[in-house]
Amino acid sequence: MGNGKETEVKQIREVTVRFAGDSGDGMQLTGTQFSDTTASVGNDLSTLPDYPAEIRAPAGTLYGVSGFQLHFSSNDIFTPGDKPDVLVAMNPAALKKNLPDLKPGAMIIVNTDSFDKKNLALAGFESNPLEDGTLSGFEVYDVPITTLTFNALEDVDLSTKDKARSKNFFALGLMYWLFERPLDTTLNWLREKFKNKPELIEANEKALRAGYNFGDITERFTTRYKIEPAKLPAGTYRNISGNEATAWGFIAASVRSGLPLFLGSYPITPASEILQFLSKYKNFNVRTFQAEDEIAGITSAIGAAFAGNLAITTTSGPGLALKTEAIGLAVMTELPLVIVDVQRGGPSTGLPTKTEQADLLQALYGRNGEAPVGVVAAATPSDCFHMAIEASRLALEFMTPVILLSDGYLANGSEPWKIPHVDELPEIKVKFLTEPEGFKPYARDENLVRPWVKPGTPNMEHRIGGLEKANITGNVSYDPENHHQMVTIRAQKVKNMQKVIPDLEVDGDKEGDLLVLGWGSTYGAIKEGVERARRKGYKVSQAHLKYLNPFPKNTGEVLSKFKRILLPEVNMGQLAKVLKSEFLHHGIIQFNLVRGLPFRSTEIEEKIIELLGGGNNGQ
C-alpha cells in the first residue's frame, strides 16, 4: 500500500488462528467477524469459541480468559484445528493460558500495554515473558495495541474507557492485513449494529483501519499470508453456527409441514441462542414462550402439540433431566414433540460453556417406565439444520417425542454451508383427522401411529392423559395384558422409523480391519484424522451415526463387516455400551476423552496408526 516497505506474500494452504483476551475484551466478536470475513472470501473454515462461564470474570485472571479459534483453508476442512499457528494475546493471562497449545514456532501477537506488573502477577508470571526468554522459539510481535488505539481515536468524542473497548478492532484490522482479508464485511456489520450510535461506528472503524494500516506501515511485519479460496461445490454459501442452523431448521420444518411453530423454553447455556433466534421470526408464524422453568418449557410445548402445532423445547443436560417426566407424558399421550439437548459438560451444573457427549444415555433411557423416543444427533454445525428438520419429520409423522442432540461445540462453532433451496428440503406429511365416523383416539395406522385430532374439531371431543390407555379406544385401562401390549406398541412404533430413515453409509472400504465410528460432533475430527491416516497409507473406513434410536436398519450389517471398530466419544463410552448390547460385536474399541473439549484430529489419527500397527504397514 505504497509505503515502500518490502512485503513478501506467502501462499499457504491452511492456518489456525486463536484470539484470546479477557472475557470483556470482545474476543468472541473479533473471532466471529474474522470468520464471517474469511467465509466471504471463499475459504473453508471451522470455528471453536471457548469462553468462561463467568460473564465478566475479574480482569486479568487466568479463569477470565476468553478464546476464539478459527481454522481456515483453501481445502476442505472439518475441525477448528488442533494447535494454533497464530495467537493474538490481549493480556498476560491470555498468553499464559494459551502458550502450551501453540505449534512450535507459532506467531504470537501480544498487546504489550497490558503487560504491566499487576497483570503479570494476576497471570502468575514471575517475570515478564516478553523479556525473560519464555517466548524464544516463537515468532513474537509486541504491539502496544491499547496505545495505538488511543492514538487513532484521538479525535473521537468518547470516554477513555469506551475508547479502550475498540482495541479488539485494532487487533482485528491487523489480522485482516496479515491474511489479506477485506474490511467491508466488518464495516457493513458495524454500520448495521450501531446504526443509532454513530460515534461507535466511527471509533471502531478508525481502530480497524489503524490496525490494518499498522501492519502495512510498520517495519516489523514483512510477510503477509495468502490462502486461496477453497474449491467447494458450486452453490451459494453462508457461514452458519449450530444454534442458528437449529433455529432455521425448525422454521423450515414448520414451512414444510404447514404447521405453526411453537417453542417453549427456559434460558440455559449453551442452548439459549435458539430461543433468542426464534423469537425474532414471528412473521413465520412462530410463537416463542420463555417459560418460568424447564418443566413449563416442555409442558407448554406438549399443550401446543395437543393443540396442533409443531411443538419444540430446547435445553441442555440439566434441563433435559428436569423435563424427563414430561417426555414420558408425551410418550404416553403419543403427541409429536421435539426436544433439543445442546449438551454441555456434566454432571450437575458441570461445565456450562464446554462441550460433551455425555447425555446420550439420558436421551435414550432417562425416563421412568418403558419410554422409548426417537433420538437423532447432528454431526456438524450446518447439519443441525437438517437434523432439526429430521427430528420434526419423525416426531410429526410418528406422533412421538424425538430428542435432537447437539452440543456446545456444534452450537457455537460455525462453518460455511451450501444453502439448500426450499424445494429440496424434505416434505413433512401431517394430517389432522376431522371425520368423526368411527373415530377412536388410539386407533393405529400401518406404522402403529395414532390419529391427531385438533381441539375445536366438532364431534370428536376426547380425553388423553398420562394414565395407561386401552389400545384403540384410549380409555384409561389398568388391564395387565393391555399394558404389555401398549408397551410393545409404543416401542415398535419408534422402531418403525427405520422404514423412513437413511441407511448408515460407509466412507471408504465397506469391509476391513478398522472402521472408525462416531456420532454427533466428533464427525469433523474423525473425518480429518481418517484422511490423514489414509494419506500415510493406512486403510481405514469411517461411518457416522446420525440416528441413534432407532439405528439405521443396516447398522448391524455394516459393523459386522469390520474386525475392529474404533469408537471415539466425548463421554465414557455411552454409544459403545449400547452397540455392544445391541449388536454383540466383539471388536469395539472405546476411545474416551472427557475434557470439555472436542477431539483433536491428530488424536484420532494417532489412535488409528497405533491400532494398525505403528509403522507404515497399513497397506
Binding site: 422454521i251 412473521n283 418443566i295 401446543a304 393443540a307 399421550t333 375445536g456
Partner: protein, 347 residues
C-alpha cells in the same frame, strides 16, 4: 357477552357435557357436586361450543375431572396443568381452556406454574378444589392444611403454616379471584359462570369436602345451623353484611378489619364496608382474603377482585400479527439466502 350469542346457536343441556366414562370418586365426595354444577352451568355460557372447550388437569382426585366432561381433555402430570394450558391457549386463542386442580397439585408441586400464569394473565380458568388434604395418596397434609393438623405424615400435628390461596392469587396479580363452596350449588354456578366470562387468568377456589380423609373441614360454612354466621357473601357494590339476622357487618378501623353489630345502637349500615371488585388497590382485597385467619370473622365467598387487562395470549398473538404486517409474511427461501452469502461457481 350477551350480544355475542348468535342466532341458531346450539342449545346444550347439562347431559351434553357428561362423557361416557363412569365417575369414580368416592361416594359422598364433594367433587360430584362440583362436576354437577359445571355441567349445569356450561350450557349457560354465552356462545359456548363444546368442541372449543379444553379441560386440563394435573394429578390428584380433582384431576380426574376432564375424563368426566364431554369436551376435549388432557389429564397430565402433577402440577403442570397451568403450563400445558398456557401452551394450548397461546397457540389456539379460539379455545376456552379450563384447569381442574387440587391444593397439592396447584399450590405445592405446581406452585411456580400457578403464580406465573397469574402474573402473565394467561386467559385460562383455574378451578382449585381445595380440600386441605392429600386424598389420592391417602391422607397426608397439604399446603392448605391448618397448623397442628394430625395426618399420616404429621402424627404429632403439622408445624407448617398454610397457604392462603386467595391471597397468593391476589399477590401474583390474577385478574379474577373468587371463592365458592361445593355444597352451595347456586353460588358455585354463579362463580363458574363469572369465571367463564372473564378474560384473563380466572382463579376460582372451591372449598371441597373430602369425606374420607378430611371430613367436615368446612362444616361451619355448610351446616344449616352455622353457615349464615360464618359465610360472608361478597357482592359488588353491596355492603358486607352477614349473620342469621343480617345484622353483622365488616368495617375497617384504619387498616384493621372489625365486625360490627348493626343492632348495638352505635353502628349503622353506613359504617359497613362496601365491596368493590374492581378496586385498583389490592389492600382491601388482601384484608378480605385474610379474614379467614381469625376465628371471629366470617369466611368471604364470591369475587374478591376482577380487573380488565390485556391477556398474555392476546398480546403474544397481537405481536405476531404486528411483526408480520411490518416485515411481511416470512419467506423461507429469502431468509436462507439473506445476509452475508457468497457464491462458488462451477469451474
Amino acid at each position: 357477552m350477551a350480544n355475542n350469542i348468535e342466532v341458531g346457536e346450539i342449545k346444550y343441556t347439562p347431559k351434553d357435557f357428561a362423557s361416557d366414562q363412569d365417575v369414580r370418586w368416592c361416594p359422598g365426595c364433594g367433587d360430584y357436586a362440583i362436576l354437577a354444577q359445571v355441567q349445569r352451568t356450561f350450557p349457560k355460557i354465552p356462545g359456548i361450543k363444546r368442541e372449543n372447550i379444553v379441560w386440563v388437569s394435573g394429578i390428584g382426585c380433582s384431576s380426574r375431572f376432564p375424563y368426566y366432561m364431554n369436551t376435549y381433555g388432557f389429564h397430565s402430570i402433577h402440577g403442570r396443568a397451568p403450563a400445558i394450558a398456557t401452551g394450548i391457549k397461546l397457540t389456539r386463542p379460539d379455545l376456552q381452556v379450563w384447569v381442574a386442580t387440587g391444593d397439592g397439585d396447584l399450590l405445592s408441586i405446581g406452585g411456580n406454574h400457578f403464580i406465573h400464569a397469574c402474573r402473565k394473565n394467561v386467559d385460562i380458568k383455574i378451578m382449585l378444589f381445595n380440600n386441605r388434604i392429600y386424598a389420592l395418596t391417602k391422607g397426608q397434609y397439604s399446603p392448605t392444611s391448618e397448623r397442628g393438623k394430625i395426618t399420616k405424615t404429621t402424627p404429632y400435628g403439622s408445624v407448617d403454616y398454610p397457604f392462603n390461596a386467595i391471597s397468593l392469587a391476589l399477590g401474583a396479580n390474577a385478574t379474577f379471584v373468587a371463592r365458592s363452596i361445593d355444597r352451595d350449588a347456586k353460588h358455585l354456578q354463579a362463580m363458574i359462570l363469572r369465571a367463564a366470562q372473564h378474560k384473563g387468568t380466572a382463579f376460582l377456589e372451591i372449598y371441597q369436602n373430602c369425606n374420607i380423609f378430611n371430613d367436615g373441614a368446612f362444616r361451619l360454612l355448610t351446616d344449616k345451623e352455622t353457615k349464615e354466621d360464618h359465610v360472608l357473601y361478597l357482592e359488588h357494590g353491596k355492603p358486607m353484611i352477614f349473620g342469621k339476622n343480617k345484622d353483622k357487618g365488616i368495617a375497617l378501623n384504619g387498616l384493621e378489619p372489625i365486625v360490627i353489630d348493626l343492632n348495638d345502637g352505635k353502628h349503622s349500615i353506613d359504617d359497613v364496608l362496601v365491596h368493590d371488585e374492581n378496586d385498583d388497590s389490592l389492600i382491601r382485597a388482601f384484608i378480605l382474603s385474610h379474614l379467614t385467619d381469625h376465628p371471629d370473622f366470617p369466611t368471604p365467598v364470591g369475587v374478591f377482585r376482577q380487573l380488565f387487562q390485556p391477556t398474555y395470549d392476546e398480546s403474544v398473538n397481537q405481536q405476531v400479527k404486528e411483526v408480520t404486517e411490518k416485515l411481511g409474511k416470512g419467506d423461507l427461501e429469502k431468509m436462507l439466502f439473506s445476509g452475508n452469502t457468497w457464491t462458488v461457481s462451477d469451474n
